[in-house]
C-alpha cells in the first residue's frame, strides 16, 4: 500500500528537470511527467497551471522521452502566466499538468511538405517535422522570426529538414521579409508541393493559409484559441471551420487553414485583452486598482 501510494505521488509531481533560455523571452522546460510522456504524439498539447491561484494555459509538446518519463515544453513569455512560468527554476514543481490533449498531427507520406513556423513554434514544429520525415516525406522548413535574437535550434532544424529557409522581419539574419514570401515562391516553382503545415502566431498562420489557397495546396494550421479545461467541457475554444463550430481542444488543435473563419478566431482571442494587461502588471507588482 505505502509503496503503491508513493508511486502514484511520483506520477503526479511535475518537477522541472531542466531549464534553458533559448532566445529572448523563450524558455525550455523539461518536466517529469511519465504518464504524459508515455502517450505523447506530435501535435498534441498539455494544460498547465503554475500555481494554486493561476490560470490553466495550453502549451504544445516540443519533445518527450518515454524512458525518462519527461516532457519538454518551450514557452514564450508574453503575459502573466507565461512570465510566472519563466521565473521557475530547475527543481521547482509545476502545480498541475494535464495531457496529452488534442488530436495528433496526421502523419502520412504526402510527398513534399513545407513546414512553416515562427516564435515559440520553432520548437513545437520539430516533432511534426521528424514524424513526417520518418514517414518518407521531403521536408522544406521555413522559419520566420522578427530578429536574429529570437532564433533558436537552427542546427537542429537543419538536421531534421531536407531544406531550411530562415527569414527575419528586420533582415538581421539570412533572408529579410516574411515567411509567406519564400512560401509563395515554392508554390510558384516547378516542384510539386503536396502539403503545408503552419504553426505559430495567428497572423502568420492566417497569411500562410491565404498564400496557399490560390494554389489549392492543403494547409494545416495549429489553432491557439483561449482555453479553460482543454477537455471539451467548456466550449471556450470554439472555432468555425467551414460552416461548423468545433472545439479546438478536442476536435483540433489542427484544422484545414482554408476553412478557418480567421476574423472570428482573431476577435475571440482578444476577449480578455484588458484583464490580461492588468493581470500582467499585477504579476510585475505594478498593477493599480482594477475597475470593471
Amino acid at each position: 500500500m505505502a509503496r503503491c501510494f508513493k508511486k502514484i505521488i511520483e506520477l503526479i509531481v511535475y518537477k522541472i528537470l531542466e531549464k534553458q533560455n533559448l532566445a529572448t523571452n523563450v524558455y525550455l522546460f523539461r518536466i517529469k511527467a511519465p504518464l504524459i510522456a508515455s502517450k505523447a504524439k506530435a501535435g498534441q498539447f498539455v494544460m498547465l497551471r503554475v500555481s494554486q491561484k493561476g490560470e490553466r494555459i495550453p502549451l504544445t509538446l516540443a519533445e518527450w522521452d518515454g524512458a525518462e518519463g519527461s516532457i519538454t515544453i518551450v514557452v514564450m513569455a508574453v503575459g502573466a502566466t507565461t512570465c510566472q512560468l519563466s521565473r521557475l527554476e530547475e527543481g521547482d514543481k509545476i502545480n498541475d499538468l494535464l495531457g496529452p490533449l488534442g488530436n495528433p498531427t496526421e502523419i502520412e507520406y504526402f510527398g513534399t511538405v513545407v513546414c512553416v513556423a515562427g516564435g515559440f513554434a520553432i520548437a513545437v514544429i520539430r516533432p511534426v517535422i521528424r514524424a513526417l520525415k520518418e514517414a518518407g516525406n521531403h521536408i522544406i522548413s521555413i522559419i520566420g522570426v522578427r530578429n536574429k535574437e529570437l532564433l533558436f535550434w537552427e542546427k537542429e532544424l537543419e538536421q531534421d529538414s531536407d531544406e531550411l529557409i530562415i527569414t527575419t522581419d528586420d533582415g538581421s539574419y539570412k533572408r529579410k521579409g516574411l515567411v509567406t514570401e519564400p512560401l509563395k515562391e515554392l508554390l510558384e516553382g516547378s516542384r510539386d508541393i503536396n502539403r503545408v503545415i503552419a504553426i505559430g502566431p495567428t497572423a502568420m498562420m492566417k497569411f500562410a493559409s491565404l498564400t496557399t489557397k490560390p494554389f489549392g495546396v492543403k494547409t494545416i494550421v495549429s489553432l491557439n484559441p483561449i482555453m479553460v479545461d482543454g477537455t471539451g467541457m467548456c466550449g471556450c475554444c470554439r472555432v468555425t471551420i467551414g460552416d461548423e463550430t468545433r472545439f479546438a481542444c478536442v476536435d483540433g488543435p489542427e484544422f484545414d487553414g482554408h476553412l478557418v473563419d480567421w476574423e472570428e478566431f482573431m476577435s475571440r482571442q482578444t476577449t480578455y485583452l484588458d484583464q490580461e494587461k492588468y493581470s500582467y502588471q499585477c504579476s510585475l507588482g505594478t498593477g493599480e486598482k482594477h475597475h470593471g
Binding site: 504518464l35 494535464l98 467541457m233 467548456c234 470554439r238 475571440r268 504579476s283
Partner: protein
C-alpha cells in the same frame, strides 16, 4: 411533549441587499433550536413514506428522531449509513420533488424540511468532529478498483467500496475533486469548504485521488483494466449544448459551463488575486430555465451586472430548476422573460456581442416529456440589448470515453447503455453511473446509481462470477 407545529420553520437567509454582491452562502442553516423544533413536527410515520422518495434510501424518520432526542452523533451515523455527502445533498437536492414530496405533510404544503435537517446534521458534524467515531471499514480484500471522475457518482462509489475493504483509486481530469459540485454549482449555494471536507472524509477511508488524469488520453480504460479488477465510470455529462443560431461565437457569448467554471473552479470572482478572468457584463441574458441557468444568472448579478434576465421558452410552472433557486433569483432581482427564445445574436463591428433577437413563444400540445411544446409566434421578434449571454441549455456526455474504449456502447443521445439494477455497461468489468448514463440529472440520482454499482461490484469481486465475462450485459440490449 409540545403540540407539534403545523408550519415548517423557515431557514434564515443572508439579506438580499448584502448577498447580491458577495459569493458567501445565501442560506444560513438552522440553529439547534430551530432544528429541534422542525424535527419535532415529524410524526414518525409507521409506513415511512419519505424514505421511498430518497434515491439512496436514508432512514429519514430515524435521523430526525435522533435530532429530537438531542443525539446528534446518532443522527450523523444514521445518515452516513446511506449518504456519504450529506452536507452537499442537504443543500442541493431538489427535495420538493423527492423525499419531501412524499412526506405526509406535503399536501398542506408543509412537508418536514428533511433537506434542511440533513444539512443541519452534517454541519454539526463538521464542527464537532471529535464526537464522531470513525466510519467502520471491512478488512482489506486485496481487490483494486479504478473510479473515473470525482463527481458525486465517483465519490460515492469510492467511499462505499473503500468501506467494503477494497482499495480504490479515483482518476480525475481536472486539478481538483468534486465534478459539477466544484466547477458548476457556485459557492453561494454550496461553499467549496463543504465539498473539501466531505472529500477529506473519503480520503480518510484510504481512497487515493489521482488528479490531472484524462482517461481516454492520459490512460485508457483498457490499460486500467490491466491493473485494476474493476472500473467505474462516473464522468458525467460535461459537453455543453449550443443552439446553433447565428452569432453564437461572438465575443461575450458563453456556455454556462465556461462561465461557471471560470467563476467557481478558477475563482474568477477574485480576479486578479486568482488569475483567470471572466467578462462580467453590464446587461446579461441567460438562456434556459434549470438550476444551471439560475446559478449563472445569480453569479452574473454578483459580479456586478446592472441587469440580468433569464430567457426561457416555457413558463414558470415548467421551469426545471429547484423551487428555492427560482425564488432566490427573483428576490435578488433577476428578471424572468418567459415564453421567448433567441433566434440570433448581434454584434458590433469588432464582433463584440451587443444584442439578442428573440421570438415570442406560445404553448401547444404536450410533447414526449409531457410538457406543452413551445411554438414560435410568427412576426413577434424583439431585441434585448446585452453584452454577455450565457447559454444554459443542458449538456451531453463527452464522447471521449466511448470513442477510446472498444466495447462500450452508447445510445443515440450519447449516454452509455447500462443495466439500471446493477449499473453494468456493455464492457466486461466496467460499471457506470450518474450523468454519463442518464444525461444531466441530479446529485442524488447519481449517488443512487453509484450505490447500486458499488453493491454489484462488491458482489462480483467476491464471487467468481464474470471471471470470463459471463453474465455480462450484452452489447445489443
Amino acid at each position: 411533549m409540545n403540540k407539534p407545529l403545523n408550519k415548517r420553520i423557515d431557514m434564515p437567509l443572508q439579506a438580499v441587499e448584502a448577498r447580491n454582491s458577495n459569493f458567501d452562502e445565501v442560506a444560513l442553516g438552522y440553529s439547534p433550536e430551530m432544528a429541534k423544533a422542525e424535527a419535532s413536527r415529524c410524526l414518525q410515520c409507521k409506513k415511512r413514506p419519505c424514505i421511498s422518495g430518497c434515491p439512496v434510501g436514508i432512514d429519514i424518520p430515524g435521523f430526525i428522531k435522533a435530532i429530537c432526542d438531542d443525539n446528534l452523533p446518532a443522527a450523523v451515523e444514521t445518515i452516513k449509513n446511506d449518504n456519504i455527502l450529506p452536507g452537499i445533498c442537504g443543500r442541493v437536492c431538489p427535495q420538493e420533488t423527492q423525499c419531501e414530496n412524499v412526506c405526509v405533510f406535503n399536501k398542506g404544503g408543509n412537508a418536514i424540511a428533511i433537506g434542511r435537517l440533513e444539512r443541519f446534521t452534517a454541519d454539526w458534524e463538521r464542527n464537532n468532529k471529535s464526537e464522531i467515531a470513525p466510519v467502520s471499514k471491512s478488512p482489506a480484500t486485496g481487490k483494486r478498483i479504478a473510479v473515473v471522475g470525482s463527481g458525486p457518482a465517483g465519490l460515492t462509489v469510492a467511499a462505499d467500496l473503500a468501506r467494503m475493504g477494497h482499495s480504490v483509486t479515483v482518476l480525475e481530469a481536472l486539478h481538483t475533486t468534486g465534478g459539477v459540485l466544484k466547477y458548476g454549482i457556485p459557492d453561494f449555494r454550496l461553499p467549496s469548504e463543504i465539498i473539501e471536507e466531505e472529500v477529506e472524509n473519503i480520503k480518510a477511508l484510504g481512497v487515493i485521488f489521482q488528479l490531472n488524469t484524462l482517461v481516454g488520453k492520459t490512460q485508457t480504460i483498457d490499460e486500467l483494466l490491466e491493473r485494476f479488477d474493476a472500473v467505474f465510470l462516473g464522468t458525467g455529462a460535461g459537453l455543453p449544448i449550443f443552439m446553433n443560431i447565428p452569432g453564437e461565437n461572438l465575443v461575450g457569448v458563453y456556455s454556462a459551463n465556461e462561465f461557471l467554471t471560470r467563476v467557481n473552479l478558477m475563482q474568477a470572482y477574485k480576479f486578479p488575486e486568482y488569475q483567470t478572468p471572466v467578462k462580467a457584463g453590464r446587461q446579461v441574458a441567460v438562456i434556459g430555465g434549470g438550476n444551471v441557468a439560475m446559478d449563472a444568472a445569480r453569479s452574473a448579478l454578483r459580479l456586478g451586472a446592472e441587469r440580468v434576465c433569464i430567457i426561457y421558452r416555457r413558463t414558470e410552472v415548467e421551469m426545471p430548476a429547484r423551487r428555492e433557486e427560482v425564488e432566490h433569483a427573483i428576490e435578488e432581482g433577476v428578471e424572468m422573460i418567459f415564453l421567448a427564445s433567441p433566434v440570433r445574436f448581434l454584434g458590433d463591428e469588432k464582433r463584440n456581442l451587443k444584442s439578442v433577437e428573440c421570438i415570442r413563444m406560445e404553448l401547444g400540445e404536450p410533447d414526449s416529456s409531457g410538457r406543452r411544446r413551445p411554438l414560435p409566434v410568427e412576426g413577434s421578434q424583439f431585441i434585448i440589448d446585452i453584452d454577455v449571454a450565457i447559454v444554459a441549455l443542458g449538456t451531453t456526455p463527452n464522447p471521449l470515453i466511448s470513442q477510446t474504449s472498444p466495447g462500450l456502447k452508447t445510445s443515440h443521445k450519447g449516454t452509455l447503455i447500462y443495466d439500471e439494477a446493477t449499473s453494468r455497461t456493455t464492457k466486461p468489468r466496467v460499471w457506470a453511473g450518474g450523468d454519463i448514463v442518464t444525461g444531466s440529472a441530479t446529485v442524488i440520482s447519481a449517488m443512487g446509481a453509484a450505490r447500486r454499482a458499488a453493491a454489484d461490484i462488491d458482489k462480483f469481486l467476491k464471487t467468481d462470477e464474470g471471471k470470463a465475462g459471463q453474465n455480462w450485459l450484452k452489447a445489443d440490449v
